[in-house]
Amino acid sequence: MLTKRIIPCLDIKNGRTVKGVNFVDLRDAGDPVELAKQYADVGADELVFLDISATLEGRGTTLDMVLHVAEQVNIPFTVGGGISSVEHVDALLKCGADKVSINSSAVKRPELINELAEKFGSQCVVVAIDAKQIDGNWKVHLAGGSIPTDIDLFQWAKEVEYRGAGEILFTSMDHDGTKNGFANEALAKLSVELNIPIIASGGAGKVQHFIDTFKEGKADAALAASVFHFGEIPIPELKKELKAYNIEVRL
């Protein structure tokens, strides 16, 4: 049976991990390769690297980092952040990234999804959607959640699937950073209405939240950052707990 995936997310700036990582036995907590290897060793199913470099030079350094991760890490990984062209995706995939994640650029120019799916295949196109509820309606937000749009989450998700995305990474801004659990109602609706895998993101604080997002939220994968980086939820224990709740995971 296909297992549910646990995905740590690392923020990358100028080729280094940022936003505090507190791992024991790590010589250099800023080194993405070392961190990625450690996560692969403890049973992470995939990794996501989010490039938050502001400059072209920083993005170039990230490309170099992708190459080193691919060289040394034996699980799949996705790279996202500021990707807006076929050429950029081509460069990332050539460096060994398995998938890319696009967000604002897809909203601004939805054809990008078609172009990427046709050229590289749907399997490597993840569309990330940031949304929050405004008057009870889920609205898509851009630029890391800072710019609201009038676009409905569910309509956009369907369009994204229709255009050839292989997967959706849905972050609820209402939940992100709260550690109060994932947006399970919206996730379940996405999962039922769509026919591609859905990754839940935003709100992980304890093990129960992962159980809930897989059971109630019907998510195919769950992504989190700080609870993993600070060792609050060790991945081996998390997976054992999930298994105890009859959620299929890779142990």
Partner: protein, 194 residues
């Protein structure tokens, strides 16, 4: 020294395969040169992307006629495996016909692509030496090979299908050993030792 060639016909993400062998201490050469391919000890036939486009690239480079004549161990990975079958529903594509089976699209009541870690079982080849039944492998695919006499591993995703095939010196795996952690590395190591 062993000469390992990865057939380079424009299909995606061969870097990962090259790196996986590098981690095993083997330098894999990327090539579309018939002579180099014919002289290799072992050959990897990769593939990520769309079947009809990939087949077109094989035909244009003449590799479609070369590959079936190979006598050394060949490992088709993912789309590479599917292209070694008789046909695939993806783009209504005729395959190279090594494996006597057809490739179909997963039914619409399933999430497609199947993406993530699933188990392989009923293992039947020395390609799987040291691999336990129900070992996890990483898979990303929308199309699957139907079972046939050449099935050497099975996987369930809504239905039961052939996740690996073998015919004479030809091996095919639907999963990505290069992305499947230690168990995947073991399979690549086994292939090198065939």
């Amino acid at each position: 020294m062993m000469k390992l060639v990865i057939i380079n016909y424009g299909a995606g993400n061969i870097k990962s395969i090259q790196f996986a062998f590098k981690r095993l201490g083997v330098n894999a050469i990327l090539s579309n040169d018939p002579e180099e391919i014919l002289n290799a000890d072992k050959i990897i036939f990769p593939g990520v992307g769309e079947a009809s486009t990939a087949m077109k690239m094989l035909v244009e480079s003449g590799l479609d006629t070369l590959i079936p004549t190979l006598k050394q161990p060949v490992l088709g990975i993912c789309l590479g495996m599917q292209l070694l079958c008789k046909s695939t529903e993806e783009g209504n594509t005729k395959g190279l016909g090594i494996f006597q089976t057809d490739v179909k699209r997963f039914p619409n009541d399933l999430k497609v692509p199947q993406m993530g870690w699933n188990v392989i079982k009923e293992l039947k080849s020395n390609l799987f030496s040291g691999i336990k039944e129900n070992e996890y492998m990483y898979l990303v695919h929308s199309y699957y090979a139907e079972h046939c006499n050449e099935t050497i591993s099975a996987t369930d995703y809504g239905l039961n299908y052939a996740s690996a095939l073998k015919h004479k010196n030809f091996y095919g795996v639907q999963f990505h050993p290069e992305k499947s952690s230690l168990a995947g590395e073991q399979i690549l190591k086994n292939f090198l030792e065939l």
